[in-house]
Point group: C2
Chain length 321, copies 2
């Protein structure tokens, strides 16, 4: 108990080591992390969260690197979470990315943390959001969450940002269009990186065309910025677009709505998790195993087994309250 | 009630229209679909499920098409589920795929159904598995589930198969390696399609190299088959590999284990769903809204709100039992 309070205090004081340790606890799914997160919650809400996502090789890390430097020069404290939901099996892409980030890493005022999946993708998305809360409570005014955009869990992480930037390259052609479909919907704006390569103007046009199909229910219209992140070209424009999107959100009440939506999802997730813990006692896990044998032998259906376990749960909850 | 029984009977009789209607009910999340699935459950278990997945443009539909024709010629009843989890926003890739499948579609003995995401990806994966149960109960001896392999939900669908085939092309280079990481782990074997293109042998070698890193805990080792599906080259080999994997599973007890694992997950999903329904009564949804306002104003934490709702649930369950 005291340890959690101590760590929460360290975080709120902005202690780097405390922040790093707390994120490790979150990553390892330690019980203490929950208590720490509860304790720091009231200190969150000041960090502005920027999600950066896009296909492998689009230059996410380079862009994030340059943005971090820009914000640092403006005197802001910057935190970076590089989240890699691809399996540890072939991994390595991210390692390469991180090596390229060393010039920012040398700056002690930028906190960088890589988080990789260890099997469970859903879990990673939750942990990344909790790590962002820790960075937020510890005084990071800009929090960037970088993910490879290839699946639902990455969309979840990007969806946890105030402003979501989707980065593409001229080579992202028709073939992987489908793959990016989800990205199209979450982007607050697009960055076409490596725009000194052939096909850049065409790519910008095709993104704009696809954006044209989007309903314009609210008054923010996502645009496209061309960058060559490795040379710093276009970074200023990206910073400006983030700023105008932020202003738009703040003035339209959209920021409040977005954050409320995030809290809504968070509460639902906490409840879902707790219900699972409550439900899957050892005794019901054993009952499931017995039920499975009956189902395999076609003496019961999975629906029967589920119904029986549910009714058993209702009785047990009854006994304990 | 009677209507569900009637439809279940139609399915078990192998009535095409009944099957199509039942899958529509599943797709629309109709209440009746649950009862139908319960009624037909005892008739499932005879269809062999083949998952075919891979990146967009790899030629999944063409391969599935040729395999279907092969199995048909062997006198087997074939069902195909083409599942497209990409958003309906940019969609269209799948439509093109389906158009190429017309020669199989003309054969009345092959049942083909496209299922597309309508927002909820998790939901689609569940519905695809339920549709496979319907095809199974209606006497389809071979059930192929085709998905674009780019995310968790596709892996789920592929994981619902007895044999999972991952299809790649020579062009699937390093850049999208990370994206395919998940695929590497679920493949029972690989098909390198369009293997008449440059780089085919290199691609086969690099797949084999990656496979080399896989632990060989069980005695099945995934191989790689080269195909040019559009010309029918290599189809016989694919069929043979499916057959030897099936034989391996049957003899090693792996098929039983796989199916038991699927049932285990199914029961857990049914329970999770029911717990959510039980939990989110109108009264607790309203309490959540009130709680959210307190959290937004920093008078409570999301953890407080979740804990209160959980304790409220326990009391209510208490009252009702």
């Amino acid at each position: 108990m005291n340890r959690a309070k101590e760590m929460a205090d360290q975080i709120v004081r902005g202690d780097r080591l405390g922040v790093a340790r707390a994120i490790s606890l979150v990553e390892n799914g330690s019980d203490m992390s929950q208590e720490i997160l509860e304790r720091i919650y009231s200190k969150t809400g000041n960090g502005y969260r920027i999600g950066v996502t896009g296909p492998p090789g689009a230059g996410k890390s380079t862009l994030v690197n340059k943005l971090a430097r820009f914000y640092r020069n403006a005197g802001l404290r910057v935190g970076i979470l590089a989240v890699d939901p691809t399996s540890p099996f072939t991994g390595g892409a991210l390692l390469g990315d991180r090596i390229r980030m060393t010039d920012v890493e040398l700056d002690r005022e930028v906190f960088i943390r890589s988080m990789a999946s260890r099997g469970s993708m859903g879990g990673l998305s939750k942990k990344a959001k909790e790590a962002a809360d820790i960075l937020d409570a510890s005084g990071h005014e800009i929090i960037m969450m970088e993910t490879v955009g290839v699946g639902q869990s990455e969309l979840d992480i990007a969806g946890a940002a105030d402003t979501t930037v989707v980065i593409l390259v001229p080579e992202s052609g028709d073939g992987i269009q489908a793959m990016k479909a989800g990205l199209m919907e979450i982007a607050d704006f697009f960055v076409l990186n490596k725009s000194d390569r052939p096909g850049a103007d065409q790519a910008v046009m095709s993104i704009k065309m696809i954006l044209g199909f989007r309903s314009t229910g609210n008054s923010w219209t996502p645009g496209v910025v061309k960058t060559v992140a490795s040379e710093g070209t276009g970074i200023q424009e990206v910073v400006e677009l983030v700023a105008s999107h932020r202003q738009f959100l703040e003035q339209s009440g959209g920021l409040q709505r977005k954050r409320k939506g995030r809290l809504d999802r968070k509460i639902r997730e906490l409840i879902e998790e707790q219900l699972q813990v409550d439900f899957w006692t050892r005794h019901r896990q054993e009952a499931l195993q017995r039920g499975l044998d009956l189902v395999v032998n076609r003496n019961q259906t999975p629906y029967d087994v589920a119904a029986k376990l549910i009714s058993d749960f209702r009785k047990e909850v009854d006994l304990h309250t």
